[in-house]
Symmetry: C2
Subunit: 150 residues, 2 copies
């Protein structure tokens, strides 16, 4: 965790993005390090955890982080928590809390609240179209013999 914290401070000094860093460790070995690169790479998904998870999966040649631990300098936002559940590491350690992040201008708590708001009343409105046509892809997936479930 001390290394993640040091990376988060360096990220601010170097102007690469927000004060966040994450490290993925397996069997005592660091597989990947990530820092927040949103503004420096024009990628709104380049949060520290996402950067580190993608890099660790590349290192492992797998889309799952079996037996890995993630050390992140701040409690994950909803996007990153989602990514963590899809990557399935063993456990997550964090330092700063979501309240700490909100206090410096990174307020993401509302994102999860949006799940229980009606689609057309969300801050970014959502609308359903053509569900019957789209469901054909799901039927094909169900029937596909070449699929890799995950």
């Amino acid at each position: 965790m001390r290394e993640a914290i040091a990376l988060s401070r360096a990220n601010v000094r170097e102007g690469k993005g927000g004060p966040f860093a994450a490290i993925v460790v397996k069997n005592g070995i660091v597989l990947a390090r990530g820092t927040n690169l949103v503004t420096s790479t024009n990628d709104p998904t380049a949060h520290a955890e996402i950067v580190a998870i993608r890099e660790a999966c590349r290192a492992l040649g797998s889309f799952q982080l079996d037996g890995c631990d993630i050390y992140t300098s701040c409690e994950p936002c909803p996007m990153c928590l989602g990514a963590i559940y899809w990557a399935r590491p063993r456990s997550v350690y964090f330092a700063n809390t979501r309240d700490d992040a909100a206090a410096i201008g990174f307020d993401d708590r509302f994102i999860c609240d949006e799940f229980s708001v009606a689609h057309n009343e969300r801050k970014i409105p959502m609308q359903q179209l053509l569900r019957e046509e789209a469901f054909e892809a799901f039927r094909e997936w169900r029937a596909a013999s070449n699929k890799v479930p995950y």
Copy 2:
């Protein structure tokens, strides 16, 4: 939306990943197309929306999707909804629902429920460490003159 649906079906046929596709449109022009590439690229974050958002931001040279609409063949998972809120498009259109996705084995609803579960009781346990040391990065961010807020 019909193009997104066609891409989602092609993605299954080509064995690239799950039956999901997304398109980002601005002023009637398609900026980016994405399909689910999780298993073919070993990237658990490569959901259709994330792939399309990253590509659209590259095309725009911006970390925000001002005035853009996203057409996704399925209602976004918590990770992708988070990414959408960070990218700030104008609106989102979807076809299949989260219940449809759960019915073919992509059940992500529990992820948002995890936010209200105690850290140590989550399916992937979380534990806090070294908050005081980590908060120093947040103090530095607050004081930084070179920062790009987002």
